[in-house]
Symmetry: C2
Subunit: 212 residues, 2 copies
């Protein structure tokens, strides 16, 4: 299985601009990416990074400065194109780089799930992780991509499996998502937040974050 981790190397995580400055967002995004690469490896696969610009990580990096959808579809086309002779393709997994809660167990459930297209929905209707075994399937990450991907799979006659995981549903985009990293994360991303002074703060029975 190919495991591709797309990474927006330039100005990542802009929706965290209320809590992190631009350099911090760079550092935190890189910490999350490295955690995801570790989790993929610990789940028994070799990750490759698909980045919009060069990035220094311990994995092969392909630079493609296009938007997420065409860049991922180029990978699917490449892997699916090789399949046309045999009718089969090497499965391609696409795992987002901001899944700071991803564990080898959660990714293992994704990789091991049956189905031509396996989807781990993100909170809010996105697609946080995918496995594609159907050469005709293409992605479209705009909008409610979870529903669109189910529809696209149906349109090419592909059977869909959905992975029900809070860890994989949690892409870290906003301040509220940092709470999840401090609650459930275990790697560099959590350590990064702690070093930067973040901690859980319980106010009126609700859990938020505070920064020292």
């Amino acid at each position: 299985m190919r495991v591709v981790v797309p990474f927006a190397a330039e100005t990542p995580k802009t929706r965290l601009d209320d809590v992190l400055d631009a350099d911090e967002r760079d550092g935190f995004a890189l910490a999350m990416l490295r955690d995801v690469l570790d989790a993929v490896r610990d789940a028994g696969e070799e990750p490759e990074v698909l980045a919009t610009a060069p990035v220094s990580v311990d994995a092969p990096v392909t630079v493609d400065d296009r938007a997420l959808t065409p860049a991922v579809n180029a990978v699917l086309e490449e892997s699916g194109g090789e399949a046309t002779a045999t009718g089969k393709m090497e499965p391609v997994a696409v795992v987002m780089a901001d899944l700071a809660l991803a564990t080898p167990e959660a990714l293992g459930r994704l990789f091991d799930a049956g189905g031509d297209v396996v989807v781990a929905p993100g909170r809010g209707g996105g697609t946080n992780a995918l496995v594609v075994r159907e050469p005709a399937f293409r992605v479209d990450y705009h909008g409610a991509s979870y529903l669109d991907h189910r529809r696209a799979a149906r349109d090419v006659g592909a059977e869909v499996t959905v992975v029900d995981s809070h860890r994989l549903a949690t892409d870290v985009d906003t301040r509220a998502d940092l709470v999840e990293v401090l609650l459930h994360g275990g790697g560099r991303a959590r350590a990064w937040l702690e070093t930067a002074g973040f901690e859980l703060a319980v106010t009126e029975g609700r859990v938020g974050i505070a920064r020292r």
Copy 2:
């Protein structure tokens, strides 16, 4: 296994007051409760409701007007008390009434998980569902109860298992949670929202809700 579904029958779901009026919140909360009861039954268990006031549902209802924590602990004490002679207790599951995404499969993973205390964390650090097999364990739902429950379990020597489920992590409290019901829900709660005129609305690539 006893499966207890606590239900705040009076003024439920106040954090939805920006999108639903008081009568609507009552109706929507009841729709979610009934969905949860169905899902518990379809997972092979017989649910009982622990409500702050009488409520009309197709399941036995115990009225206890205390706060959630003492009311649930009274149930645990009752079930655990019977255990002191034998050292074992009938497992008690506590499943929140606002888990509108709960499916028999997701609840089955909870009920079937090993461990003296099984926790399904809610987004934001709450405890959305629990299974208790350790008579000395007590709940405290205030604040970051997921962390507190792990600590409380450790304190009584109980082994903890965590269930990683987006469906069980999604308690429906706020407007953003309604998006999840429209994306992933399938029962009365989703039908209630649709009848009330709610639909998904994609704006600038992000998914929200709109009301006709």
